[in-house]
Symmetry: C2
Subunit: 232 residues, 2 copies
Amino acid sequence: MIRALAFDVFGTVVDWRSSIVAELEAFGRRHGLSEDWPAFADDWRAGYAPAMDRVRRGELPWTRIDDLHRGRLVELLSGAGIAVGDDEVDELNRAWHRLDPWPDTVAGLSRLKERFVITTLSNGNVSLLTNMAKRAGLPWDCVISAELFRHYKPDPEAYLGCADLLGVAPEELMLVAAHPGDLRAARSAGLRTGFVFRPLEHGPDRVLRMPPEGEFDVMAADFQDLADKLGA
Amino acid sequence: MIRALAFDVFGTVVDWRSSIVAELEAFGRRHGLSEDWPAFADDWRAGYAPAMDRVRRGELPWTRIDDLHRGRLVELLSGAGIAVGDDEVDELNRAWHRLDPWPDTVAGLSRLKERFVITTLSNGNVSLLTNMAKRAGLPWDCVISAELFRHYKPDPEAYLGCADLLGVAPEELMLVAAHPGDLRAARSAGLRTGFVFRPLEHGPDRVLRMPPEGEFDVMAADFQDLADKLGA
């Protein structure tokens, strides 16, 4: 029996790429800059996994995502020859706190919340997730982050720590994510798995495929479909 | 400038005593027992601070409130000669997850949420706070517990850890509580303080007095009054 759902956030709950591109375009207009902002957004995001892996391997001390994002942003701005003040960099970096949900997210979560405890389980830090939820109206019962365990996903400590905080057994907790690697790590830790297909996560030019039917416990087209399939 | 409000929960947000007495009375009816249930509730609660103090002094390893509550409950049931199964003890112990809010709580929090980030900062564990909020409709932006820091209030780590997770400076965070000792410890850690008067926390027979005017940054009669005084 599933008692709680833990959601990956970037890509699964929110459309980070469209949101970041729009923030970068607005930044460009404010500063009279013309850049390939979609490529800039992809480069910014591309720094995320390697930076977390350095933390996971112990090459960096625990560092929250806000600071990993900022480090990458400073490199990219510098590489593009863009010089702005620290406050401007901070403000742009906080674009990750202002990501918009996918169109089905809020309605789907609201249905799922009627039947299950719903929480984030994201590598994003607590303040990022809290500010995002407040702005976007995401109706979480609880905000759980890798920051609380000082272990980024896919370390097992993140999945098991989430179940422990919620007071449920690992098999009573389902990770919901658009990313097979995250789900496979959750399964290895004993969690149930719910895949949600987000074909546009990386934009219209990078086509994503559904994993094979049956790979995960539930496979859904979006959060409404997930609610249907979980009987919520 | 205050950016976030962190709320003490037991007594400040919820009326633990009326709720626990009602749960004990229902338990008594199910088992055909007659006891002085208000006194039993007070004895149960009276075990809370000494048990946390043992954890704070390092005499006990980290132990969550659910387990501290359960230990005290088992002692009290045994002392009263009441023998029930472990499942019944668990179910009764979870009464602390089902506490009812004071009448002004939900409406006041909803107003305050429009202007501030609002979180719990309770010695209750995360699952207790999450289940309570879900049942009672408490509209938290975030659920923060002493459990996340493995330091019970009034240890400074709890107050400073809360500010850190929210990404605000201590002076940008106000603790809201009905308990002067909690507020004084928060002030020592650099937080702002909001006192809310809950004269019935310990029942109608134990009269509580307002602290002297001016002792805390804001002093309010209830959460609606707090919202008025904070301009929410």
